[in-house]
């Protein structure tokens, strides 16, 4: 079996061996359910738009929580030494953990399909194309945030420190669009390009542009590479 996959399996198992993953999933689903149900009952709107609007905000809290321990816990308990002295590449360690966290996010997103069923039962016309784009965008966003979380986890042996670092890095990408009015004109383009929301809104509108996809994938790879570098540089003791 592929070593990356073996590690992913181990991480998924350890997610579900502990209550933390269940708690995160339950809270995620409660909140996303509430944001789906309230416009449904208050405004008589049966659509997933507000749900797609709120999930990036939920990510801001949940992804740091599910990624914080991935490497820092191994550093803290010393098992990183065990893992790193097994015949597995650092790159495979990072990727194994990345896929595990993305899989957990995917499981969370899968559960939100229940809202789609509600809409279909209520008889609303569903634009499956834009729905697909919406989920694709959320998955890509989850990948970026996971890689940031793993990077933060790889630079500290303290989970809480990792949580705070990843929260603030994600927050930076999240709020940068609100600062566009403060930056000089010639920088607006650059800042807009950095802003996650700019790319995400394109995708969730139903436009799949390679530029946006490349943005998400390159940002993910950048942080995974940084995490790998941090892991390789083992002089923390």
């Amino acid at each position: 079996m592929n070593l990356t996959l073996t590690l992913t399996k181990k991480e998924i198992r350890s997610y579900f061996n502990a209550p933390a993953a269940y708690i995160v999933l339950v809270i995620f689903l409660l909140l996303s359910g509430w944001f789906f149900a309230s416009p449904l009952f208050i405004n008589n709107q049966a659509n997933l738009r507000s749900l797609f609007g709120i999930i990036p905000l939920l990510y801001l809290f949940f992804i740091p929580a599910i990624t914080m321990g991935l490497i820092s816990r191994e550093k803290n308990s010393g098992t990183i030494e065990l893992l790193a002295t097994l015949p597995i590449k650092d790159e495979q360690i990072i990727m194994g953990k990345f896929w595990a966290s993305l899989l957990l996010i995917g499981i969370g997103l899968l559960f939100t399909l229940i809202h789609l069923i509600t809409i279909v039962i209520l008889g609303t016309n569903v634009d499956y194309g834009s729905l697909f784009c919406g989920y694709l965008g959320l998955l890509l966003l989850g990948a970026v945030y996971s890689s940031i979380g793993i990077f933060a986890s790889s630079i500290s042996s303290n989970q809480i420190v990792s949580l705070i670092i990843s929260f603030f890095i994600i927050l930076f990408f999240f709020v940068i669009k609100y600062f566009l009015i403060f930056v000089p004109d010639f920088l607006v383009g650059l800042f807009q390009y950095i802003s996650i929301d700019y790319h995400l809104s394109n995708i969730t509108r139903g436009v799949i542009d390679t530029r946006n996809i490349i943005y998400f994938i390159s940002l993910t790879l950048l942080f995974l590479k940084l995490a790998q570098t941090a892991l390789e540089n083992r002089n923390w003791k």
Binding site: M1, L3, T6, L7, K10, R13, S14, N17, A18, S77, G78, T79, I80, E81, L82, A84, T85, L86, P87, I88, K89, R234, N235, K237
Partner: protein, 311 residues
């Protein structure tokens, strides 16, 4: 075979390992001895490809560590210091995970074999965090030997265990030493003395001694101590060196009314026991006991590491 050439490791400005050289031959059980903080663990971490080398070279089976890390990792079984384990897994799941990463064919029968060998039969399906420290140590060793490695590196394998567990683990190590090249680090002398056939002593990042147990003992002091239990007048005991040459009295301690324990030291390697006995007989003293005491490895170790510290 593992060979270290001018191996050096710096942590910032601190030099943890300072140009050390030694070789571990196939089939050897090498004890890597030194006080805490001497650089033992750092050296082992470099051999197992965990820490990068500052300068120097490590070769394992003629492969340089710089470009053959994956191959070298496959040859080595490693029990890190403090025995880190994935404690939320059961023993079986843990060994299965290691087997998957190491790509062991027929892992089921191999796990069974190793479990039996390490005496883990009763606890295979228990979560590791419910096991006693001795069992955890066995799990750590089971993990290290799972892929039947040629080289086994154990970093302080018995630290923190109770005396019974220490004996058990040592038996297991001795058993393993029959078929593998073994490198064991320890700061406990008896342990190294009990299982190893060669000892390298490191202090402050430098190697201060390298040789077999006997060699180290004899190199460091040719002098042998002789302990006598005598019933004789104290003043006359003081006179012994006047009659017998090349003998010093180290101490005389009073046991009761008229018996003494006398510690003697020979100045040369010649055995003077017969002369002493004859002398005692001629004086009509009563000899209660007489035995030789070899300079213990402990004394050698203290000598080396404390002297090294003062230099």
């Amino acid at each position: 075979m593992i060979s270290l050439k001018n191996l050096t490791k710096d942590y910032g400005s601190l030099r943890a390992v300072d140009h050390i050289n030694f070789e571990i031959n196939d089939g050897e059980i090498l004890g890597f001895l030194g006080p805490n903080g001497a650089g033992k663990t750092t050296t082992l971490k470099m051999i197992t490809c965990f820490l990068p080398i500052t300068s120097g070279e490590i070769e394992v089976e003629n492969m340089n560590i710089k470009n053959n890390q994956l191959e070298i990792k496959k040859l080595i079984g490693y029990l890190p210091e403090n025995n880190p384990l994935y404690v939320d897994m059961t023993v079986y799941d843990y060994l299965k995970f290691i087997a998957d990463i190491r790509i062991i064919p027929n892992f089921k029968s191999r796990i069974k074999e190793v479990v039996e060998r390490c005496g883990l039969n009763g606890v295979v399906h228990k979560p590791i965090n419910t096991l006693s420290k001795g069992y955890k140590q066995r799990v750590g060793i089971a993990q290290a030997i799972l892929h039947n490695p040629k080289i086994l590196i154990l970093d302080e394998p018995t630290s923190g265990l109770d005396p019974n567990q220490i004996v058990e683990i040592r038996e297991l190590i001795k058993e393993l030493g029959k078929e593998k090249t073994l490198l064991i680090s320890s700061h406990i002398l008896q342990e190294v003395q009990a299982v190893c056939n060669r000892i390298v002593i490191i202090n402050k990042g430098k190697i201060v001694a390298d040789g077999s147990t006997e060699e180290l003992q004899s190199n460091f002091q040719n002098k042998t101590k002789l302990i006598l239990g005598l019933m004789a007048p104290e003043a006359e005991i003081q006179e012994i060196p006047k009659t017998i040459d090349e003998i010093n009295i180290l101490s005389i301690s009073k046991q009761d009314e008229n018996s003494f324990i006398v510690e003697l030291e020979f100045e040369s390697a010649t055995d003077k026991r017969a002369e002493i006995f004859n002398f005692v007989k001629s004086q009509n003293w009563t000899l209660l006991e007489m035995y030789r005491e070899n300079i213990s490895l402990e004394a050698v170790f203290r000598n080396l590491t404390i002297e090294g510290g003062e230099k």
